[in-house]
Symmetry: C2
Amino acid sequence: MTTIKDVAKEAKVSVATVSRALNNSGYVSEKSRLRIMKAVKKLNYKPNEVARSLYQKTSKIIGLLIPDIANPFFPLIARGVEDYAMEKGYMVLLANVEGDQEKENRYIDFFAQYNISGILSVSNEVKRFDGNIPIVLLDRGGKSDYYSITVDHFKGGQMAAEKVIDHGAKNVLVMVGPRSEYVALDRSKGASSVLEKSGVNYKLIETETFQTNAAEYTAQKIIEEISNFDTVIASNDVYALEIMKECLKQGISIPNDLQVIGYDNIPFSQYSNPALTTIEQPAYQMGYKGAQLLFDLIKGKTDVEKNTLLVPTVIDRNTLKERSD
Amino acid sequence: MTTIKDVAKEAKVSVATVSRALNNSGYVSEKSRLRIMKAVKKLNYKPNEVARSLYQKTSKIIGLLIPDIANPFFPLIARGVEDYAMEKGYMVLLANVEGDQEKENRYIDFFAQYNISGILSVSNEVKRFDGNIPIVLLDRGGKSDYYSITVDHFKGGQMAAEKVIDHGAKNVLVMVGPRSEYVALDRSKGASSVLEKSGVNYKLIETETFQTNAAEYTAQKIIEEISNFDTVIASNDVYALEIMKECLKQGISIPNDLQVIGYDNIPFSQYSNPALTTIEQPAYQMGYKGAQLLFDLIKGKTDVEKNTLLVPTVIDRNTLKERSD
DNA sequence: CATAAATGTGTAATCGGTTACATACCGAGC
DNA sequence: GCTCGGTATGTAACCGATTACACATTTATG
C-alpha cells in the first residue's frame, strides 16, 4: 500500500501539502498540485480511510438496519438508500437484524466503533445508541421524536378496506402484525375504521411477527378460521402469498371462495396466479428520500422536514372478484 | 467516547497494561486485570476499532459482493455467510454490485481502504484487486485458481434435462444465461449433453443478463418463440416465474401447453400457481461453508479444500406434467 | 546465595492520515 | 523602505489503539 508519505516524497513536498491538495483545503500552488496529482496517479495512491477516520471521527459510511433481508420489500428500500449514498460517494453498511435485539445491538456497537456518520433504520426505534450521530427511521416511527420517512399506513389500511368493500366483501378477516409494530397497528386501525363505519362484519387476528420464516406457520393457523370469511386483508404480501399457497392446497379458489389483498407490492406479488391485488408502498422512494434526509442531517442542516409521510397506492390485480356494477 | 486512556487512569495502570489485559497478550497480574475489568465495565469502554485497525492492518470485517439483492437467491447466501461470521464475532459488509463493474470497483477499493480481512464474492472473479487478502468465490468460478464453494451446475443442468425428459418433453427450449457467466454455460452444457444423447429436439437461447430487472423484457422475447416448444428450462426461478406470468396473460396453460422448470429454488418459487418445479441450490449452505473457508484462509490455514462442489437437488412441484407411467 | 528465568509494568514509537502553528516569501499601500 | 495581508509550505501534535523495548521485581535453579 502506498501512503501519503510516498506521494509526498515522489512529489517533493511535505505530507501536509499533499493532504491539502487532495482535500482542497488551505493553500496549494498550482505547480505543487500538478506534481502531487501526477505522483498520486503514478503510485496509484488511495488514501487510507481508516487513518482518516481515526482523526476525523467520522467516515464515509452510513449504516442501514433492516429487519429481514429475505422479505423482498426491504431490498427495495436498500436500493433507494444505496443509490443516493453512491451519488454522494458514501458506502452503505447493510445490517440484517432479523428482529433479533442482540444482533441489532451488535451492529449498532459496530457502527459506533467504526465512526459511522449516520444510521438509517427500518425499525421502530434505535435502542441503546449513546453517540450523537443522526438517525433516520424508515417506514415506521412516524410519531416518535425521530426523523423519519414513513408511509401513511393508516391510510393504506383504509384503502385496503375500501377496496375490498368495493368488491363486495361481507366478512373480512384482517391480519394485524405483531402488537409491537406501530406500522401494523396503524394499518389495522385504518382498515377497521372503514370496516366499522360501513357496517361489514370483520375480525382482527393478531400474528406474532413479520419475519418471513414464520409465514407458513401463521398462514396455516389463519386458514383454520377461513371458512367463516370471504375476504382477508393480509398484513403484507409475503403473508398473502403464503395464504394463497395454503388455499391452493385446500382447494379454496381465489377470488371466488376467498378474496385476498396484500400490502407492500413486492416484485413477486405479480407472479402469483391470480396476481395479487395489493397496496403499494413507495419503498425505493422511501429509501432514497431517507438517505437524502440523513445527508442533510449529517451536513448539519436544520431546516429539514422532520417527518415525511408518503402515500400508498392501490395496485389492482386479480385476487378480488370482478365488481358487479 | 471513552478511550483506553480513561480506562488506564481509572484502573491506575498504563495503557499498555490495559491493552495487554484486553487482548490476553503478554503478562498482566491478576490484581491489575481485575481493576481493569472493573474500569471497563464502569466506563462502558468499547475499543475503537478504527484505531486498532490502523495499527493492525486488518479488521473484523469481511466483504460480501453479491450481484443482485433483488433476486432472493442471494439473500439466502448472505444469511449463511452472516450466520457464520457472527459466530466468529465478525461483521459482514454487504455490497450489492448489480452487475455494474464501476460499482464493484468502488466497493473493492472501499474494502481495501477499510482493511477488510477477506472477501466473499458471488462473481466470476474479483478484478483489480491488488492487495493480498483472501478471497473465496461462491456459486461460480469453480475452475479458476480462486478458492471457491460452488454447485455442480453441469450436473444441475443434467438433472433439469433428465427431469423434463422423464415427464415427456419433446421440444425443449433451454435458456442460457449471459455468455460471460460460467454458471450459465455449465448449466446449459449439462442440459444439452443429456438432451443431445436422448435425441429430443432442443434449442438454446441466450439471454443477456441475470439481473431481475431485465427479466420481464427477456421473458416476452422468449414467449414469442414458445409456440414451437412444449418445455422450457429457465435459467433461474425469477425467469421461470416471469415466463409463467406471460403465459398466464396469453392463455398458455402450465404444464399442459408448456412445461417449465426453474433453477435455484428461491422461497417464492413455492408461491406460484402451479408451484414451480425447480433445481435447488444449497444457497445457505454455500454461504455458510464459504465463510468457513474464508476464515480458515484468514487464519492462515493451508490444508483446506480449494474448490468444494455441492450438489443440487430436484424439487418436485407442479409445472411439469404428470408422468404417464 | 548467586544467578538465570519468568513475570509485571511503563514509556515511547508506530499505524496513516489531518491540521494547528510557525515561518517565509511576495506584492500592495503608505 | 516598512508594514501588512495573502499565499505557500513544512514541522509536529494528534486521533486511539498495539507493541517493541527497557526496566524492575519475583521466582526458580543449581
